[in-house]
Subunit: 219 residues, 2 copies
Amino acid sequence: MKKHFDILRKCSLFNQIEDEKLIKMLGCLGARVETFDKKYTIMAEGNPAKYIGIMLSGSAQIFQIDYFGNRSIVAGVEPSEMFCEAFACAEVAAVPVTVVANEPCEVMFIDCNHILHTCTNNCGFHQQLIFNLMKSLATKNIMFHRKIEITSKRSTREKIMAYLMFCAKKADSNSFDIPFDRQELADYLEVDRSGLSAEISKLRKQGIIKSYKKHFELL
Amino acid sequence: MKKHFDILRKCSLFNQIEDEKLIKMLGCLGARVETFDKKYTIMAEGNPAKYIGIMLSGSAQIFQIDYFGNRSIVAGVEPSEMFCEAFACAEVAAVPVTVVANEPCEVMFIDCNHILHTCTNNCGFHQQLIFNLMKSLATKNIMFHRKIEITSKRSTREKIMAYLMFCAKKADSNSFDIPFDRQELADYLEVDRSGLSAEISKLRKQGIIKSYKKHFELL
DNA sequence: AAAAGTATGTTGAAATTTCAACAAACGGAG
DNA sequence: CTCCGTTTGTTGAAATTTCAACATACTTTT
């Protein structure tokens, strides 16, 4: 557990929690760590939604896959980020998404009930954790607003530009890397991959952007 | 304030709060009520995101509108439902949406800081309110997942069917009313209104659905 | 009850997206 | 270094969506 300490400290769930408390807390919460190889399923659609996941190392992507196999990327998960906490907190029966490892991963799982309901030891940290959960759920809500703002654009070109402008704003620079390859970007923007490639080429030829693989530059 | 009591009690923010406490609490929270006529803007994009809204009577819709005037309906707001709580809780500077009254409305506004931070009277209810906020933010997260699941479908027909199947599930019946008129449904599904009308006609002719105005039936 | 305004359905043309297929570039594995 | 699998770019045809315009039905106002 020690080696993950720095990552855990950055996790929004443990905001304002002192280091010594954090260590004790993890035992009390019954946290466990599992490892996953690239492409392995960390959480499958239909699984009971009891656990909050925290990415300790590696990265993953959250998908929704329909009966025709069309996948839509909901979000990426980077180290120290939480996932599936909304399903656990809302006490839905099953998670409606699939989380797949992008690369070898270590993931910490915490039973959400251990956070929400006071344990027999009567630990004092539940209030702070609930407050932290609330904050990060609010932040995720805003992430969704942004995704909807981007994908509600009617044309591929507008979606690309809206996404790139958001990335530039986040990076605070006109030059930045995106976390998706072309197929993944297409799945995130909900457009056809080949059409996406064609449109990016066009934007490049028209001198609106520069791009090489995952690196982009707004001109 | 008295006449809104039954509505407020149903609001998820006040879950598990006893009736007598609720009354005192409202004063302490500095809740205020405003009325809006049909089509009036209850909250405008760019407003400071300090306040949580609670719909007391009437209904509204939450929009995102881009620089080209394309509007996307994010959600509807019915009596006893909260809105803009995510922006207030996440402490973003400004709300990124516009909330417009569908019909004459009464709305209660509560400064989110009064909920999150203990007041000088040291009222004991903050913990419960924060817990309730967390729950409803989690639930909204799931709403967004559903919207993304529906709008990520690539064709108008699939979007309609995904939406209607969700409505049927919610109503627990194949016969139900939807809360949108055609233009609004188009804005929610992020498609063209005339194309939507045409596709609904086609579904009707093919015997897949029955529909009359806002009433639908899956066959 | 008529008039005006709004919502819905219909249509065809134009624009866009998807799809399928292939070529080129790239990155590891051996 | 070469081979193989993967990613990215390109293309043209087919399908779909958007757009504009109008007809019809329905509501609200006067």
